[in-house]
Amino acid sequence: MSPTTRERLAVQFGARFAGDTVRPSSEDELCALLSTLREQQGPPLPIRIDRSLFDSVLSVSPRSGLVEVGAGMTLEAVERVAKGHGLTLGTLNPGARPQRVGEFLEGPCAGLRAVPGGRLEPLAMSVRVVLANGQVYRSPNAPRSAAGPGLESLFFGGGGRLGLIVSAQLRCGPVPTRTEDVTLAFPTPTDLVQALRYALDDGAVIAEAQLYRRASAHVVHARFAGTEAGAVKDANTLARRASAHQGRLTDPDLPSWSARSERELAWAEVIAALAAGRPLRLYRLAVETVWAELDTAEAPERIRPHAALWSAVARLADPALLLGGEG
């Protein structure tokens, strides 16, 4: 009688196979695991693949501002490595810091970061991905590419459905030498938000911002981090945009509150929260959307578009539907 898949996994992975979780320690082991699962007769086993052992630093390029790490490293750990080379991932939202790189890139955040001009781009410049059939895909090793469709986008926010990220080259910048704080009060939430968005469009990078209501005013306490000249320049840019939207400098008087959830918000949702008197902390500020800490656990329903199409792509790329992913 041939051994069952579970018996084979127990032999292959020993103590690293427990319950329904397997912890491969290398790309070869991950491919071997997928091979074993492919040979399984009948419906796929509900196995959880834990990539926490993919926790190596593969390369650091201070000149190009890139740190290549395994998908199992936490972003906090990556930040420590980067700082050792004078680099930083930039300001991360609190929920992202303990996340593993793979989880951050494949999850709801889609691994996005904000860049000057208020645009969003993936934190990962390139990724290495193991596909369901054990083949390996490496996205172009360049800041931008016009060599066909952006296949790496299949994995950002993809929940591991079409492949498992095993390593990524993460974009870093120089460690800031200066921070600058500015507090501004506005008559309406809309004025406040428009001042922020236009300042972002001008090129200011806002590391984080706290938004709250004080009496009849709507207040933003914004933090800028960069070079000596850069942080001041960005703060001044926001101050100038604020004056065009009826904003005025004020003293910080930060209310104490506890964040209970994090999520990506459209700016209209930020305006609604402020109008309702609810404070927010903002990270990854872009003209399009923002990542927010909220004082509520209620999460608005987010659409998951093109479900039928993704399902069709998945069936063609992974006929055995081996990678169930997270949806």
């Binding site: 390029s61 889609a110 172009p140 066909g148 469709p149 950002f156 120089p174 987010r302 659409i303």
Partner: protein, 520 residues
């Protein structure tokens, strides 16, 4: 001596019988005037600006023409064309304005050339959200002028802006001259609409949403997965101020280091272009020479006959010996960098001053505003000078790749070395990011007979792409793949091609969309 075949002498193969039936059906849907089987139309859509196709034409060879041309005016009509094409298993080649330089619109399997320029609506800018919705067939310059009238800019200025469409930009992941500040086209797209090869309309949502971003997957698909119909793009208030600068560097290395320092410091000049020494000598001139205004009686024979004839004789003597030319180019040393900042006045001025300080730290010498202003004035000229090279019996092409900063100089050296015996090579560095930049090589060569020209062209491309990718560059930064780089793309994708095939299977199950491109 090169002989040129008049276009009127070219004979096209007749459209296939199936195409003729399809044309009748399409005429019912689009109107008879919006479908054509005429040779003149088919010939017009048989090529884009791929230099190899120009070589074919010069030899009297016709690139594979489409069987028919269709001009839909709406998304629904695009879907109708796809439905007819599916029913008859006819290929569909989406066509914008034909400015592509990689053969992306060559109708390798005939079929329908789908011209999208009648999809030409430009919406009003939403000032609260800083976006505009635009049809795919709108010409770039028309869009920019419209936005300017509303007080906004897209910030996208490809050299082809007068002869490229929004849909073409999406299909090839285009970049404009001000991409450092405003990003490439993929950075500007908030959502888009497209018709798939299955005839279904898809609309990608704006963030926030859950799951992968289909829009980013479709961008760059060069008509193989879908036909873009409409897009929502980020716009910006028109810049209130511009600051120009020219910097001179003793070496390419110093100039590249200065570019890197600018981006590491968080600066985002709208333009930063570093020309290598010979490119600096050729195109970095501050003041264009005034052309002598000849009397019309002298002008025509001289410019029309005598000069081109002299050039055709001189060209093989110069460009026919690229090694010699390249060695001569090594005598030039200094490189020029063009800088332009634009936006809010005070910020723009501060950034320009900071940039000069950083460049000087890297060994640069400030040449003042004039070189930047001169570049800005002539910024679209170079693209229209290629035809003179072709008239002279030579060929010219450009290769744009991207690399991270630690690979930029190795890629530059590797391509120059590999191309040295095959073409005269110039290079400029532009489209910079904190991680690296694009290297834009201009290549000019002549190989005597037309048959040898084509052979030289193929050898040159195989050699330089191999050298570039071998030294760490990618296959393309913003020209796309088309036919030209399809084999290299397949190598770059490796096992990832499985994903591309899965997308193709899901979005274009009959394989009718632009067959033969992107190695599909």
């Amino acid at each position: 001596m090169t002989s040129v075949t008049p276009v009127s002498a070219l004979k096209l193969p007749a459209p296939g019988a199936v195409a003729q039936v399809a044309a009748t059906e399409l005429a019912r849907v689009l109107g008879p005037a919006q479908v054509s089987l005429r040779d003149e139309d088919r010939l017009s859509y048989a090529r884009d600006m791929w230099p190899k196709a120009l070589l074919w034409i010069r030899q009297g060879k016709i690139p594979p023409p489409p069987d028919l041309v269709a001009w839909p005016a709406s998304e629904a009509e695009v879907a109708a064309v796809i439905a007819v094409a599916r029913a008859h298993k006819l290929a569909v080649v989406p066509f914008g304005a034909g400015s592509g330089v990689c053969g992306g619109t060559i109708a390798l399997r005939g079929g329908i050339a789908l011209d999208l320029k009648r999809l030409e609506t430009i919406g009003r800018v939403d000032p609260d959200n800083l976006w505009v919705e635009v049809d795919a067939g709108v010409i770039g310059e028309v869009l920019e002028r419209n936005l300017n009238e509303q007080g906004y800019t897209l910030g996208h200025f490809p050299s082809s802006i007068y002869m490229s469409t929004v849909g073409g930009w999406l299909a090839a992941r285009s970049a404009g001259q001000l991409s450092n500040k405003y990003g490439k086209i993929e950075d500007m797209v908030l959502s888009l609409r497209a018709v798939t090869g299955a005839g279904e309309v898809v609309e990608t949502p704006q963030r926030p949403f859950s799951g992968p971003d289909l829009g980013q997957v479709l961008l760059g698909s060069e008509g193989t997965l879908c036909v873009f119909t409409r897009v929502r793009l980020r716009v910006h208030p028109v810049a209130q101020h511009r600051a120009f600068r020219g910097m001179r560097f003793k070496t390419v290395e110093a100039g590249v280091e200065a570019m890197r320092l600018l981006f590491a410091a968080g600066l985002r000049p709208a333009v930063v272009r570093l020309y290598d020494p010979f490119d600096t000598a050729l195109v970095g001139k501050e003041k264009p020479k005034k052309k002598k205004d000849l009397a019309p009686s002298l002008r025509n024979p001289l410019r029309a006959d005598l000069l081109p004839a002299a050039l055709r004789k001189l060209t093989p003597l110069t460009l026919g010996h690229p090694s010699l030319m390249n060695r001569a180019a090594d005598l030039f040393q200094h490189c020029r960098m063009i800088l332009m900042f634009e936006g809010e006045p005070r910020r723009t001025q501060e950034e320009a001053l900071e940039a000069v300080r950083l460049c000087e730290k890297a060994g640069g010498h400030d040449e003042g505003e004039a070189p930047g202003r001169a570049w800005f004035k002539k910024r679209y000229d170079v693209s229209y000078k290629m035809s003179k090279v072709v008239d002279a019996g030579a060929f010219a092409d450009t290769m744009e790749v991207a690399a991270t900063w630690d690979r930029v100089l190795p890629v530059y050296e590797a391509v120059r070395e590999a191309a040295a015996g095959l073409a005269f090579v110039l290079c400029h560095f532009s489209h910079a990011y904190p991680e690296g930049c694009s290297l834009y090589f201009s290549l000019v060569s002549s190989a005597g007979s037309e048959a040898n020209q084509e052979k030289r062209y193929d050898t040159l491309w195989e050699t330089i792409l191999e050298a570039a990718t071998g030294a760490g560059a990618n296959v393309s930064h913003h020209h796309g793949v088309g036919v030209l780089k399809a084999a290299q793309l397949a190598r770059e994708l490796g096992d990832g091609r499985r994903l591309l095939l899965a997308l193709k299977g899901a979005l274009d199950p009959d394989g009718i969309l632009n067959p033969g491109k992107l190695s599909l």
